[in-house]
């Protein structure tokens, strides 16, 4: 009941959508009725179009994001751990961080073509730096008291890295990964909209070009929902991972 009241505005919007289209307040071409969109969605699930294209997109996003987390996380912690690495890498990170990552779309296509490779590379490049910076900030701010006590108890440098620095970098690192997760969807969809032969973005573009707008809306809503669901799922996992902390931020 509480959830119903909380989310009632969305219900109102959905009803307004259906009515304004059915009653002809807006052109059905520009805004097909919601019920038509749902019908088109079911149709596309049945004939497998949505699932094949969705599978391709999800594979790209996961591969790119996985690489970004692995390499970005290690890089960030290494930057906090060793001053020479920091001096070497930090200026490059600082230069590339503000680069609007979408500018890389044409280059990744030049390097790896129209298929999976260029999307994975783009997502990897775009998502790595937020993870790196999260890991760096987290590892840098690990409490000195913890570091000192670990050292006085005779922990080796490597052991300390694993037992003290990495866990205390966790919250910020996980935050950086959340940013990367959102970015991965943005980059995935935009690169697929611009150049691709399959995937959600490709499907949206080709359906729009064909004028089958109800199906196009169905795919747009699917992508939007997946992005939302991925974020919520991630938050849930994060909460579990950080359950050992005294207080969740």
């Amino acid at each position: 009941m509480k959830a119903l009241i909380r989310y009632s505005p969305l219900l109102l919007i959905a009803i307004a959508w259906e009515l304004s289209s059915r009653l002809g307040l807006v052109s059905q071409l520009a805004l097909p009725p919601l019920s038509d969109v749902v019908a088109a969605w079911i149709e596309m699930i049945k004939d497998g179009e949505l699932i094949t294209n969705g599978g391709a997109s999800i594979y790209r996003a996961l591969a790119g994001l996985g690489l970004a987390i692995a390499i970005g996380g290690v890089l960030g912690i290494a930057m906090a751990w060793s001053k020479p690495i920091n001096v070497l890498v930090a200026p490059i990170v600082e230069i590339f961080y503000p680069l609007p990552k979408s500018a890389l779309i044409p280059v990744t296509v030049i390097w790896l073509g129209f298929g999976d490779g260029s999307k994975i590379l783009l997502i990897f490049l775009g998502c790595m730096l937020p993870v790196t910076i999260g890991a760096f900030n987290g590892a840098r701010s690990s409490e000195q008291v913890l570091v000192w006590s670990a050292r006085s108890m005779g922990a080796s440098r490597l052991r300390m890295l694993w037992d003290v620095v990495v866990p205390s970098a966790m919250p910020e690192l996980l935050n950086g990964i959340r940013t990367a997760l959102a970015l991965s969807f943005i980059l995935l969809v935009s690169s697929e909209l611009i150049v691709a032969q399959k995937g959600f973005g490709y499907l949206i573009g080709s359906l729009g070009a064909n004028g089958t707008y109800d199906a196009m809306y169905a795919v747009v809503l699917t992508v939007a929902f997946l992005g939302f669901a991925a974020d919520r799922l991630y938050l849930l996992i994060t909460k579990r991972t950080l359950a050992w902390r005294e207080q969740n931020p």
Partner: protein, 273 residues
Amino acid sequence: MTAPPDGWPEKAARVAVRLFWIGARSLSVIALLVAWEVLAKSGAFTPFQLPALSKVVERIWSDAVSGDLAINTGLTLYRALTGFLICAIGGVVIGMAMARNKIANWFFDPIVSIGFPMPKIAFLPVVILWLGVYDVSKITIIVIDAIFPVIAATVIGIQGVERELIWSARNMGANNRELLRQIILPAALPQILTGMQVSLPLCLIVAVVAEMLMGGYGLGGAMITASRFANSVGVFAGIVEIAVVGYVLVKAMAILRRRLLIWHQEAHDPTTA
């Protein structure tokens, strides 16, 4: 006889150490640029895959001389910054309304909590369908994408204002308006600015994507035209140009933040680099 005689060598040593680190820091950037040039010239890559840095610089220079660079940069900046301005003002207004008004909160809260994590760029074809391929639709998609961080930061910022501050202002006879302008907004400003610092790069990302998809003038449009003609020098020139624009905007925002928050204790924190 009070000044220590070895005062200035110490200072000089400190300056030398600083210079050393600045040199060490710029070293890797220079190394990167040199590596680019050498790799491109070495023949390990075709000029299509990796054009030489010198060729790219030449191309940027000729764009600058012909005036194309100014037009494209100006248009992209105009779109991104107009979008950002709308996000900044609209986001703060909606966020304030949500924090202060039950009905506004009831309506916007589910929209924000669902809309924030969505990849709103997927709505770009819908926006094109409604508004066409000109500036209005580009700015609209920028606002749709980048307004949520500002709204969320404003709500969190206002909710986090210390109760004691509000109570004492009330006690001293501040009315609602004064309370909002003199107490709540300044106290929430650090959070709000953080939201804007998230929003600004998003504006630029989306502006570039929108230009790439819709074509025409603008840095993104110029890049996609270059890539259609397999002109990879043009593509790399575009990246460098967009990178410079992004760098300048992000730095400008950070400087603005330091100015606006000069009264705040974070300005004296060495950690906010």
